[in-house]
């Protein structure tokens, strides 16, 4: 569903991604884990086509987003994606209702009455009914994440990208977001790519896990395979130890 082939990205003299290759299988959720600052979010932005790689190619559902010349052709490919951002990235000036309806009205150009029905349906599924007339700053970060999820899923994308799902959340809200991802996956059946450093909690939404370090994917497998990995860096990261090959920046 998503193929990342030998992608390189640097900012000035700092090499962030140094030949990353990963396959995201259809219908499965893959989680990319790694310490802060190793380029996980950069990888996500490259997949969204918001940044361009220095070298390498990224295919989304068979379409090469790195070769798309114009913003319009990138937009065509982006229609397959739904994105839940780290901070939910809701529009401050719009109510929660308008935030959820936004992609329907702007991207799908759906009529207002059809969009209204879809918004109410998804809001009910995600228990957002009482908050629809509120503005994002009037609700908790947990609710905002749910709104972000509703906005990402309302166009029924084939692929859901999730950036750091529980950053800034307490353990209860964090667990609620994981439950939400699983519930939504069961209901909508998307292919998922999750970026996270929250271990082992994120394994509950992952069917595949890849660890990125030093600009490369250093290990890949099922959560059980990762836990059983003999790779010192994987073990150090999984167990949250300060001693080992990963140097704390």
């Amino acid at each position: 569903m998503i193929s990342v082939h030998n992608v390189h990205k640097r900012f000035g003299s700092q090499v962030v991604l140094d030949g990353v290759s990963i396959e995201i299988e259809p219908g499965k959720t893959t989680t990319v884990v790694g310490p802060s600052g190793v380029g996980k979010s950069v990888l996500l932005k490259l997949i969204m086509g918001i940044m361009s790689p220095d070298a390498g190619e990224i295919y989304i559902g068979g379409d090469n987003i790195t070769k798309a010349k114009s913003e319009a052709s990138k937009n065509e490919i982006r229609k397959q994606l739904g994105v839940l951002f780290q901070s939910a990235a809701l529009f401050d000036s719009l109510t929660i209702y308008d935030n959820i309806a936004f992609p329907l009205l702007e991207r799908s150009r759906l009529s207002v009455s059809k969009a209204h029905k879809k918004v109410l349906t998804i809001a009910e599924s995600l228990s957002l009914g009482p908050y629809l007339s509120n503005y994002p700053e009037q609700v908790s970060i947990g609710i905002r994440k749910r709104v972000g999820m509703a906005r990402a899923l309302i166009t029924e994308p084939k692929i859901l990208l999730v950036d750091e799902p529980n950053t800034g959340l307490d353990p209860l809200d964090g667990q609620e977001v994981y439950d939400l991802i699983n519930a939504c996956k069961n209901q909508w059946g998307f292919t998922g790519l999750v970026i996270s450093h929250e271990l082992p909690e994120v394994f509950q939404v992952s069917e595949r896990v890849a660890m990125i370090l030093g600009g490369k994917i250093i290990a890949e497998g099922t959560p059980a395979e990762m836990i059983a990995s003999t790779d010192l860096a994987v073990q150090q990261f999984l167990n949250g130890r300060t001693d080992g090959p990963i140097k704390i920046q």
Partner: protein
């Protein structure tokens, strides 16, 4: 060694400045193209016209009123030395219509609305709202920048007209009410001295200043750096760059327009 380092720094400065300059022109080009290409979102344009234009009316009118009043006092004082106080009306009107109206309106709008536009776009940038738009296949240039640029282009000449009218009224009140000039002299000298070319010249200037306002404030917000400091820096740079640009462009426009309309 020192010379090499200095040359390198200077070279880097030239390269980054040229790059910035090029990027800002590409940004303007893309925004102007976005303005004319469908889909159109009239509500967004009206919303920006309200925020940038309508909400600035009161402050622009207030500044205009007192600018006209000051011009009447200063004009009458200067013209009295030549025994020409009858020309206070033309002095006030021509100064406002040709020069002070467009320039002061632009500076006020840059300070009041330009900084707000940059800060709003900057915050949208650092909170990933701009990325969210792009991820939803919505062009942020079309959705965010084009309505603001259009609002600047439309609002600036209209606000300038309000500034001029209120300013002339302020000048009239002071000249006639306080300084003892006859109402007939003020009005008749003013209407015979002010021509359509003066109004055209002022209008062209304010349209160009409107473009500068929208261009700089949107570009600085869109390319804002990280965090609160990034927004702070972008907002300051936006106000300073736009204000300086208005004053520099004003000189060249005045020179060109004076020649064009004299011929």
């Amino acid at each position: 060694m020192n010379l090499v380092a200095t040359t390198e720094r200077f070279g880097n400065f030239i390269i980054s400045t040229t790059e910035q300059w090029g990027r800002s022109w590409i940004f303007l080009y893309r925004t102007l193209i976005a303005l004319i290409k469908p889909p159109y979102r009239p509500f967004l344009y009206l919303q920006q016209l309200l925020m940038i234009g309508v909400n600035s009316t009161l402050v622009i009118a207030l500044i205009g009123l007192f600018t006209g009043a000051v011009l009447a006092v200063q004009g009458e004082y200067t013209l009295a030395k030549f025994g020409a106080t009858a020309y206070t009306g033309p002095a006030v009107a021509l100064s406002l219509i040709r020069e002070l109206g467009p320039v002061l309106t632009a500076l006020m709008l840059i300070g009041r609305a330009g900084s707000a536009v940059t800060a709003e776009l900057g915050i949208m940038r650092i909170t990933e709202q701009v990325d969210a738009l792009r991820s939803m296949a919505v062009d942020p240039i079309k959705y965010l920048m084009a309505p603001r640029l259009a609002a600047g282009l439309i609002a600036m000449p209209l606000l300038c007209a309000i500034f001029n009218v209120v300013g002339i009224f302020g000048g009239y009140c002071v000249a006639v009410g306080l300084l003892g000039l006859s109402s007939g002299t003020f009005m008749s000298e003013m209407t015979s001295a002010v021509g359509l070319v003066d109004v055209k010249s002022g209008f062209i200037k304010s349209a160009v200043f409107g473009l500068i306002f929208g261009w700089v404030s949107c570009y600085k917000g869109y390319t804002c750096g990280f965090g609160a400091q990034g927004v702070n820096k972008a907002t300051t740079q936006s106000v300073v760059t736009a204000s300086v640009a208005v004053l520099i462009v004003d000189y060249f426009l005045t020179s060109v327009l004076t020649r064009v309309f004299m011929d």
